[in-house]
Amino acid sequence: MLETVLIHPLFGLGLTVTAYLAAAALWVRFGRPAIGHPVLAATLLVIAVLVVSGLPYDVFYSQAAILHQALGGVIVLLAVPLCRQARLIRDAWAPLGMTLVVGSAVAISTALALPLAAGADSALLATLAPKSATAAVAVEIAQGQGGAIGMTAVIVISTGIFGAVFGPSILGAAGVRDPRAVGFALGLASHAIGTARAFQISEITGSFASLGMILNAILTIALVPLFLSLLGS
């Protein structure tokens, strides 16, 4: 009976949604502490169930893949907040453009600094460099530059979770209060997961996060090959 439940094609979907609802309820109950953000708590809860039940990750993933595939639709839906906030965005293009160039360069440099100092090989540099870009784009860049794409995907998602969980507190501690700046930083540094978090703060924060994510993805495509070729020469 339990076996039949575990291998049901909808089990992973049900488990993920239930874990997320439980995590979200606990998060609200405990006053929304950063470390308790449901994306982290639900993930740990699902992992606990997989470990206890012995359900392999690949089987779980195939049962929950619809959620992952729905992300494409979520990205397309960002047209709604971007259009609603069009006036605010239009007024901010110059400051955001400048911030984008600096932020994107800082994202790549901080990923490369330690491996460079330690004399790591070029494959590791290519694997790490696109870490703040959204997963699909980062994997594409890493592949083009000879990085390890499985590792890039893990690093990119971890970066997103870190930004989503701790980003708002880090920005608060650094004195960043303007919702447009908070959003732009969350999206630029921690792509779609940071953007999802930003929409929980406010629609303005979320819209500027969408912008930060999109613009940084585009600029990272151009900057990573440039940085790596400069370093290689």
Partner: protein, 119 residues
């Protein structure tokens, strides 16, 4: 709301197909986003059905990342060879990017706001 859902799915599918055909590094949904944004801009505002769909989904956006996040833990062994470099890049690197980007954006936005209100 169902027609807008169908259009959304179609935009993802054709975006992916188009991106794969021309071999761009840009993901398909980004193309769908560009098409839908252009359509809304043309009309002057987002279609109410899409607005309802967005407002319904927005508070739950982080849920969609859970299967991939579980995968990170399943594939942690991939990081073992370079775990220190990876940890520094993720924790220290991302924190620095957040602070520098947030501060710079805040200062520059305040300057722009001031110039606008002075004008």
């Amino acid at each position: 709301m169902l027609p807008s859902f169908a259009i959304l799915v179609a935009l993802v599918i054709f975006g992916d197909a188009f991106a794969a055909t021309i071999g761009w590094p840009v993901p398909g949904p980004a193309l769908g986003l560009a098409v839908l944004t252009s359509a809304f801009a043309w009309k002057g505002r987002p279609h109410p059905d899409f607005e309802r769909l967005f407002d319904l989904a927005a508070p739950w956006f982080p849920l969609f990342f859970v299967p991939a996040a579980v995968g990170v833990v399943a594939h942690l062994a991939l990081l073992s060879a370079a775990w220190l470099h990876v940890a520094v890049a993720i924790f220290l690197g991302t924190a620095l990017v957040l602070v520098i980007t947030g501060q710079l954006a805040q200062v520059l936005l305040a300057l722009t706001d001031k110039r606008k209100s002075d004008a």
